[in-house]
């Protein structure tokens, strides 16, 4: 679908101060003009040319002009449409965004690769170590030794009750040193995080 090639009403040559390399002498020789308003006016983004009247068309016609805005949740991604939905076939060619997904950087620093290399014997080993000597074998140490993530260690086993008690006391000791400002800032951060899931 052809979006119309826009012909700007003002050619760029009419805006000498917007050109990168401009002949300053010729500008100084010109009559002075109050330029702030004009500059603002010319820098203002004009409405898309597809919204103007197209004089070459004599019939009603449909154009494809996706908006410059973040996508709406009410428009189901094509991958999520059921196979018998008619929109799946309609959306094939024209409306696919040609985004080069390969070149985009990932959010996470290290690529997320799951290895699934630990067996049941390893897991019993982890449990035994953690229950036996929780001070030495912390989550990070276990993770390093078994080459897995600390989250996986937490999923597999729980710390013993004494270790939990110690950890609780440490946390209380740390929190007791917080003042009102830090406490409030922490609470605010927590509340802000909750709004992410509500998409506010």
């Amino acid at each position: 679908m052809a979006a119309f090639i826009t012909v700007s009403k003002r050619p760029i040559l009419g805006l000498p101060f917007l050109l990168p390399s401009c002949d300053s002498v010729s500008l100084e020789l010109r009559r002075s003009q109050s330029s702030y308003r004009r500059t603002k006016q010319r820098l203002r983004v004009k409405p898309d040319a597809s919204f103007g009247l197209s004089s070459d068309k004599t019939q009603d016609h449909i154009i494809y002009n996706p908006p410059s805005s973040s996508p709406s949740v009410y428009h189901t991604p094509t991958k999520f449409l059921p196979s018998d939905d008619i929109r799946r076939s309609l959306r094939t060619d024209t409306t696919a965004d040609h985004l080069n997904t390969e070149g985009l950087p990932s959010v996470l620093k290290s690529p997320l690769g799951k290895k699934y290399h630990l067996g049941p014997s390893d897991i019993t080993e982890i449990r035994k170590l953690r229950l036996g000597d929780p001070i030495t074998w912390s989550r990070s140490k276990l993770a390093k030794r078994f080459d897995c993530s600390p989250t996986f260690v937490a999923m597999v086993c729980e710390a013993g009750p004494q270790k939990k008690e110690i950890q609780k006391q440490v946390l209380e000791a740390v929190q007791s040193r917080w003042g009102a400002k830090r406490r409030m800032a922490r609470e605010d951060r927590k509340l802000r995080k909750e709004t992410w899931g509500r998409d506010e």
Binding site: S54, I62, I63
Partner: protein
């Protein structure tokens, strides 16, 4: 204005494409259909405000005798673009092939908006919007249903149906309901003349019609086929 029920039926029919071509430079007049049939008691249609003027699909209209026999009442002081035009459907709707191909893309993508024109003024509307016209619409009562039949743009998120300059009214349906009459607070303008110790106070208090958009719908290809459209290049 055209009067009442006799003409209402004939004028419910929008203007045809052929005359549109010739009239492009001269007449494009917004049609404000309102037929004030006497409000009968709603015995057959309870649970709803009696729609006193409601036109559904225009093709269901019978073959009216000669719509051109009723020339539009033109007034010299009103610009030609703002005058209403009795629509005439002598020929079926003509749509281009490309429009038919892309119409499913537009009609399956909801919601829709419409840039409806009334007295040559555009209003960007979606379903459920509240519209306060900048004038008092005559001869309407609260509860009436009007159909807007002049639009320059209809669209969804990604697609836009553009008219040249107006979309044929058989391609869409936009209905609004009259909610009542509102007025602005009293305005007082103080006028003074020189060397005259007198202040003249001019007051004005305009009244406006309130509308509510009931539906904005773009017809699908199947509905157009049912109404008998003609595909042209």
């Amino acid at each position: 204005m055209f009067s009442r029920s006799a003409l209402a039926r004939a004028f419910a029919l929008p203007l045809e494409q052929a005359t549109r071509q010739s009239l492009t430079t001269t007449t494009f007049r917004a049609c404000l259909h309102q037929a004030s049939t006497p409000s009968n008691t709603s015995s057959e249609e309870p649970l709803s405000a009696t729609p006193r003027a409601q036109f559904s699909t225009p093709t269901e209209q019978p073959t009216h005798p000669t719509p051109t026999a009723n020339p539009p009442v033109t007034r010299a002081d009103v610009p030609i673009a703002k005058q209403p035009l009795p629509p005439t459907f002598m020929t079926p709707l003509k749509v281009s092939k490309s429009l038919l191909d892309t119409l499913p893309l537009l009609s399956t993508q909801k919601p829709h908006y419409i840039s409806a024109h009334l007295h040559d003024r555009p209003y960007l509307l979606t379903e459920g919007d509240h519209l306060r016209l900048p004038f008092l619409m005559p001869k309407v009562k609260p509860g009436d249903v009007l159909r807007f039949n002049r639009a320059s743009i209809l669209g969804s998120r990604d697609f836009t149906l553009k008219g040249a300059p107006y979309v044929d009214e058989r391609l869409f349906e936009c209905r609004v309901r009259v909610m009542g009459v509102d007025s602005e607070p009293l305005r007082v303008k103080e006028k003074t003349k020189r060397r005259r110790r007198h202040v003249q106070k001019i007051t004005s208090k305009h009244r406006y019609t309130l509308l509510r958009v009931m539906e904005v719908k773009i017809k699908t290809v199947e509905e157009l086929e049912k109404e008998g459209e003609v595909v042209v290049e």
